[in-house]
């Protein structure tokens, strides 16, 4: 089990590390990860921890990409495979498969969920002004989850809206 808290993740941060102490109102940090061939990012403040894959307890009669639930220090946490969610790559589960535990909601209504991704790549610091709005096509991920696009070292990173991404799971209960 590899548990990394936010500080350790920060340590992974290479060249962008110097910018970190700049004005936080304009710079946002994102954790980027890979799904298939595409790179995505989530607001790092939403990331609770990064874990390795461990077997889940299946929950009956839910969509296939909701893999099941695990025991995260006493809390029952659902695990969602984003690769399957967006049909991006074959779901293979090895000890190297990574689960990013994300926090959604605010105040007393926070929920935690684990999402399975191919690999975690980097922490990127982004100027708020560098974020471009997402065009209406081109990705497998439906537009509504995407907050914006940003390019980092010539690579395009899609920034996911965690709340929408995980809220949708709850709304969907009526129509699976």
């Amino acid at each position: 089990m590899t548990e990394k808290n936010e500080h350790e993740i920060d340590d992974m941060d290479g060249e962008t590390g110097t910018k970190k102490n700049a004005d936080t109102s304009t710079i946002i940090q994102y954790l980027s990860f890979v799904l298939g061939k595409e790179e995505y990012g989530v607001d790092i403040l939403r990331v609770q921890e990064i874990r390795s894959w461990e077997p889940v307890s299946r929950v009956p009669n839910v969509p296939f990409y909701e893999k099941g639930v695990v025991n995260l220090r006493g809390a029952i946490v659902p695990i969602i495979d984003l690769r399957e969610r967006f049909s991006l790559s074959k779901p293979e589960y090895t000890p190297l498969t990574v689960v990013v535990v994300l926090q959604t909601g605010s105040g007393s209504h926070t929920r935690i969920m684990g999402v399975v991704v191919d690999s975690v790549s980097d922490v990127i610091s982004i100027e708020r002004t560098d974020i471009q709005s997402a065009p209406d096509f081109g990705t497998k991920v439906s537009n509504e989850f995407i907050n914006g696009l940003v390019s980092v070292n010539e690579r395009m990173v899609m920034l996911l809206d965690v709340d929408k991404l995980l809220l949708l799971e709850a709304l969907e209960q009526n129509d699976y």
Binding site: V59, P60, G68, I76, V77, P78, M113
Partner: protein, 697 residues
């Protein structure tokens, strides 16, 4: 000295609400005509501490209001005033009003000034109606109307206003006892409050201070002569000192015209209403019809309480002591095991096993006592009902006594919180529909006074709450006719008595010939049943025409732990709540019967039960496929129907801690929650009624 008082607010409110409950139950148990001074004393004390507390925290509205109540109670206590039913009703209304005020303050909302004013004038009418002039029979109290205020207010203003005008200030001699500071009071705070009323000049007497080497810094050796130039009334000034009045000698004299020292209790009686009254007059009066105001307490009880409801719990110190003992034991066992493990050799295996057994025992005890902390006596719920019965029976002109049995039965806090509404509903039903009018009762040869018994006891892992009335009972033929008329059942349907009685739980079913505002909107019983089922309980009804009805609610003792049977389906483990299991049997081929289109049934003794194949309903793909004759049938009861779950294997029984699946995830059909097994993996707990429903549909 600046302490953030708001940190104590929560405790203050809790104490106030407790005090209000004490007052309420005290008032209800007052025997009109034959007064137990101790009972009045209890009520008085509760009012007094609410007044003191609210004064300290600066909730002057509450303090002023309570002061009037206190005055009334004080007269009753001294025997200067008869305790009449009317007075008790007014005081009960005041309790409601206070509760409303405190709830508003707690939720940081505006206090409903008009409602307060109405209750206050009712209270004052009661206070003055008898003490000043007996000729004036107090106007119908509780019914807020301008008539109630007007006649009382007028003479009072005449009496008191001149007094205010000529007294432009107070000379106060404040001589605290030595122990004043030890009671946590600070004179500086008092002075600060005084200076808020007007111009304050103080003169300190320090002649009593002992020589320095004898000086105890915790004693107060100083006294003050204060001059307050203000048009404040005497009661307003005394109010400030109310918190310390037992710890000091206080003399108050008007500045202009020195009067003889008044009797401390007599003065505020006259003065306080004026202070409140004049204040209200200047305030813009909200224009709302009086009816709305009367409803307000009920509304705030149900809806407004919700957002800021306290989630704290009061625990008996004994329980905590037991817990601490237990933790001590666990720590000792742990260190013992640690010692064994440090240099372990095979000959210590016996010792290790003993240690582990001890640890297991301690853990179980610890778990039990932790669970105990959440347990509250059911009286927390029951104690509200005497008031409810009192109010409603008066309104309906029925004579009803409420008998409470087993109030000390303990249940989980969550159950206590959630069972209140269903119980209120059921009791209202009994009051309204169950118990007949006195005349009707006499005609039926029953005692004039009806009885409703509210009974709680433990049975197995359940708590049973029964509501028994000796009223008219339910007319089964009428129920059936009604159900047919409403199209809820087929005319040709053959139904057992039990099934007919259960019709009342159908949505949209109400037999009351006349709708009343107490019950009979036809939305009740199905909601009651749903609420109780959501707590994991069930509700039964027995009724005999002309003799009365009994409604029994079975609820689990706790919502946090359940006894479960773990079963294997493929590679997966599920937990079946033990309470719903009737039996488990290995099935043989000849017990099975195919029913066209509807799956399978099997014959258990003389009954045909439907089979639910867990593997199919949960889409389990792992493990070897099972034929029906290779598994185990777990016979369960859910929704009053028996049903067999076909599983692969029974694994074992254990207590499981229920974890919510919804906290981070969502509700899943057929699953009521999850738990964590010994190996750290998650197992789902089956929702038996849900599954039965799922299979039937």
């Amino acid at each position: 000295m600046s302490i953030d008082m708001s940190q104590f607010h929560q405790v203050f409110f809790e104490e106030c609400f407790e005090g209000l409950e004490a007052m309420e139950s005290g008032l209800l148990s007052l025997d009109i005509g034959d007064i137990d001074p101790e009972a009045i004393n209890t009520i008085f004390r509760a009012a007094h501490s609410i007044k003191g507390g609210s004064g300290t925290f600066g909730f002057t509205v509450v303090a002023e209001y309570t002061h009037i109540m206190e005055t009334l109670l004080d007269e009753m206590r001294d025997g200067r005033r008869q305790v009449t039913k009317q007075a008790v009703d007014v005081l009960l209304g005041s309790v409601d009003c206070l509760r409303e005020m405190l709830t508003s303050i707690q939720n940081e909302e505006e206090v409903n000034a008009q409602s307060v004013a109405q209750h206050q004038s009712a209270l004052e009418a009661e206070l003055n109606g008898e003490s000043s002039a007996n000729t004036q029979t107090s106007a119908p109290v509780m019914q807020p109307s301008s008539q109630a205020i007007a006649p009382v207010q007028a003479p009072e203003d005449d009496d008191d206003e001149p007094e205010i005008e000529e007294e432009q200030g107070w000379k106060i001699s404040f001589c605290p006892y030595l122990n004043l500071l030890k009671t946590g009071n600070d004179p500086v705070r008092l002075f600060r409050e005084l200076s808020a009323l007007g111009q304050l000049t103080s003169n300190v007497n320090i002649q009593d201070i002992p020589p320095f080497n004898e000086l105890d810094p915790e004693e107060c050796n100083i006294s003050w002569d204060l001059v307050l130039v203000s048009d404040a009334t005497e009661s307003a000034v005394r109010e400030i000192f109310s918190w310390v009045e037992d710890d000091c000698e206080l003399e108050l004299a008007p500045l202009a015209k020195p009067k003889k020292k008044k009797k401390p209790k007599a003065a505020p009686i006259v003065a306080a209403p004026v202070a409140a009254e004049t204040k209200e007059a200047t305030e813009p009066v909200l224009v709302t019809p009086p009816l709305v105001v009367k409803k307000a307490p009920a509304e705030s009880d149900s809806s407004k309480n919700a957002p800021k409801a306290s989630s704290s719990i009061r625990v008996d110190t004994d329980k905590i002591d037991t817990l601490i003992n237990m933790v001590g034991e666990v720590v000792i066992t742990q260190s013992m095991l640690g010692l064994i493990g440090e240099n372990f050799s095979m000959d210590k295996v016996g010792q290790l096993k003993r240690g582990l057994a001890q640890l297991e025992r301690h853990t179980r005890d610890l778990q039990q006592s932790v669970m105990n902390i959440r347990m509250l006596p059911i009286s927390f719920v029951f104690s509200r009902f005497p008031r409810l019965v009192h109010d409603i029976s008066t309104k309906l002109n029925k004579k009803i006594t409420l008998k409470l049995v087993g109030e000390n039965t303990e249940v989980d806090k969550a159950v206590v919180e959630l069972i209140n509404d269903p119980l209120v509903h059921l009791i209202r039903n009994s009051l309204d529909h169950g118990i007949e009018m006195p005349a009707e009762r006499i005609a039926a040869g029953k005692p004039e006074t009806g009885t409703i018994e509210l009974k709680a006891y433990h049975r197995g892992g359940h708590i049973v709450i029964e509501i028994i009335d000796d009223g008219r009972g339910m007319d089964k033929s009428k129920l059936l006719a009604k159900a047919i008329e409403k199209g809820l059942v087929e005319e040709s349907a053959i139904m057992t008595d039990k099934q007919i009685l259960e019709l009342i739980f159908m949505p949209g079913f109400s037999t009351a010939e006349q709708l009343s505002d107490i019950s009979g909107r036809g939305v009740g019983m199905d909601v009651v049943r749903r609420n109780i089922q959501s707590l994991g309980g069930n509700i039964d009804i027995i009724s005999e025409l002309g003799k009365g009805s009994t409604i029994a609610i079975h609820l689990p003792l706790t919502l946090a732990i359940l006894d479960g049977q773990s079963v294997a389906v493929g590679d997966e483990t599920y937990i079946v709540p033990l309470v719903s299991i009737i039996e488990s049997i290995n099935i043989t081929e000849k017990m099975l019967n195919k029913v066209a289109g509807k799956g399978e049934t099997f014959k258990l003794r003389n009954e045909y039960l439907p089979i639910i194949r867990m593997r199919e309903i949960f889409n389990v793909k792992s493990g070897a496929a099972t034929k029906p004759n290779e598994g185990v049938i777990v016979v369960v009861e859910g929704q009053g129907a028996l049903c067999g779950f076909l599983v692969d294997e029974l694994l074992g029984q254990q207590q499981v801690v229920i974890k919510s699946l919804e906290a981070n995830y969502r509700r899943v059909e057929g699953v009521s929650g999850a738990t964590i097994l010994g190996d750290g993996s998650v197992a789902l707990i089956l929702d038996v009624p849900g599954l039965v429903r799922l299979s039937v549909c």
